[in-house]
């Protein structure tokens, strides 16, 4: 059993290391990313309809003064959403000039 968990952990570590998978709520201001997927949730279709589709490039443009909500630019416009909604959006960070891509 414990071996299984270790393997699972290893696998997870490996995966997260490999593709930098994170969700949108973890992105910092000014950072860019690509949408990987959106978790199943009541707002999944809504997010799709608003243009948050896998493969889309996004930039975190603004964070409200109390840390929530946030605004991203996606498919040529600005979209605001709450952190608990951003949580469903899985992304892969794209390196910016200031921050060289980690190996």
């Amino acid at each position: 059993m414990s071996l299984f968990i270790t393997i699972l952990n290893k696998k997870f570590e490996f995966q997260s290391h490999h593709i930098h998978s994170m969700n949108l709520s973890e992105l910092k201001k000014g950072e860019k990313a690509i949408i990987l997927s959106i978790d199943e949730s009541p707002i999944r279709i809504k997010l799709f309809e608003m243009g948050c589709i896998p493969g889309e490039h996004i930039t975190l443009e603004n964070i409200a003064p109390f840390g929530d909500p946030i605004a991203i630019s996606v498919s040529d416009y600005k979209l605001s959403l709450r952190l608990n909604e951003a949580f469903y959006i899985q992304i892969q960070k794209v390196s910016t000039e200031q921050e060289p891509q980690a190996a």
Binding site: E49, G51, A64, P65, A71, E85
Partner: protein
Amino acid sequence: MIIEKKIALIGNPNSGKSTLFNLLTGLNQKTANFPGVTVEKKTGVFQIHAQNGDSLQIEVTDLPGTYSIYPQSPDEEIPLSVLFDKNNSQPPACTILVADASNLKRSLFLCTQIIDLKIPVILALNMMDLVKAKGISINAEKLQEELGIPVISMNALKNQGVDKLKELLLSDVLLKKQGFIDIQEVAGPLLQKASVELGLEDPYIAFQTLVNPRFAKLSGVEQSRIQLFMERNPIKTDSLQAKETLRRYELISQLLTLCVRKPLEESRKNFTNKLDKLLIHKIWGYVFFFGILFMIFQAIFSWSAYPMAFFQEIFGRVGEMINESMPEGVLRDLIVNGIMAGLGGIVIFIPQIALLFMFITLMEDTGYMSRGSFLMDKLMRRFGLNGKSVIPLMSGAACAVPAIMSARTIQNKKERLITILVTPLISCSARIPVYTLIISLVIPSKSIYGINLQGLVLMLLYLLGFIAALGSAWLMNFLIKAKEKSYFVMEMPIYRIPQMRNVIFAMVDKVKIFLFDAGKIIISISIILWVLSTYGPEKKFTEITQKFQTESMHANKKESQELKKRMRAEKLEASYAGIIGKSIEPLIRPMGFDWKIGIALVTSFAAREVFVGTMSTIYSIGQEDTSISGIRDKMLNEKNPKTGLPLFTLAMGISLMLFYAFAMQCMSTVAVVYRETGGWKWPLIQILYMSGLAYAISTLTFQLLK
């Protein structure tokens, strides 16, 4: 020959849809609610003249802005139920999809959904000026060819392309047979089965019927048939919907690469981003936001005072004229004190409503509104409110009537409802006369540490109203069950210069809604209150009249005036309002009120400030002297019949002020809540909870301070 035709406008929010609507219809428009929901339905009429002499009378419905026709809440069912309703005998002959051409993707999403539902549609590429400014080029002919529907370029702001649109409307828009998306490819053999078993011929409509429970209003039999079908063919509706949405966007992307050319690197440092740095800044953002709120507050509190005084003056004059020209009697009294008073009470709100909606439309049209809610969302969410609730709550400090109307900007139903329910708790300007009168009675006018005590109490009352509103909102957040989830996924549109035309139309529209929808109720209540306070059991009334007639025979002019005042006071006491006031005395006794205040509670349901007028009548001050000091002196001398001590003690005064702070003593607010929530359920709940709160707090205060 005049041919009548119905069309509908649909489009994303901020696509310039209302600009086009205003341009087409001018002031020939009216606003109502869609049946069953409190979503605004705007319809208008315009004419087009054909070359052969025919003219076309077109009725256009402006559908609420939407990103998709997938209904996720009852409100979002509206566009679909107008465009695609089997039971609708007269569906629109054609739909115009207004698209922000500078951001075509999301508009095409909606557009292709409509194409797939086999609804005739014209695509109007609006805001072509922005497209040029961004350096984008759109091949409209290619788009038309690929989509198979008429496509026109236009700029509604500058009235460009509108003639071409009208020309298109002269002929019938042909229905496209082929859908945009191949739904069979998404849903597989399921649809063929549905076609055979359920008789749903069109594959896309079959798909929607299956995956979307809100899609079409089906009869019970149809529903159970579909349910049976679904049990035999279990599918994951959510993932099918997602699959369709993604496939649709994929096809749209392909289409866009064919028809739209964009500059390679769009300059990120555009105007909107620069302005956002300032307007949603953690310090300057709030400075600006509260600056605007303060200006709105000033406007509806003090700027509107001039036009309001003007209306009051006019109504006073007209009342006087009627008074002089008509013979004394019931009819004159009804017209002057019943109807005219009611009408005066309605028009008095016009300046406040117009001013508030001027600011709101400016905020929405410039794109600032979404920034304001972005700043306030986190704070207001804790209380079950919305970032946009700040505007109604703040405006409520001037007047709850326009404030409640402004809650329309809140899309989420539950958040809007809570905002409507708690806004009247904020101390409005009509409470000031009541507060000032009672403060001057029971609070000594002295300063402690340089702070004027009377001013301090007034401020505390305002603060209390605000706390009560937020507290009640927090409680209601638990009590009211939401049918839809609160989400904040919303577009932050680019900043634009507002259109004066849109602003003026919005002001006119809101004033019209108030006058005609809420006005009816206000007049009715006003007449009822008039009847209650002028009529009473006949025997008693004749007695009073006879008594004063005999007395006034020997009186000189000054004395007879004094007698008239006293007669008025006695008649009010004998009236039905007086009887109600007296009979509720045991009920209001715990709050420290006597029957005289009981009468004032009844009459001031019209509006809180009526309290002062009623008090002056009861104490027979006479109408020419309604100054607060006159009433105050009379009230100061009032003794409690049981104890012989002054009636207006500190305990009673504070209890009375708290009662007016919390109780729903305003028929105009009731009327507006009725109109805004579309029924009597919520206004009644509101009256009950506010009166209950007022009663409990006043009783507690009086019993503790006594």
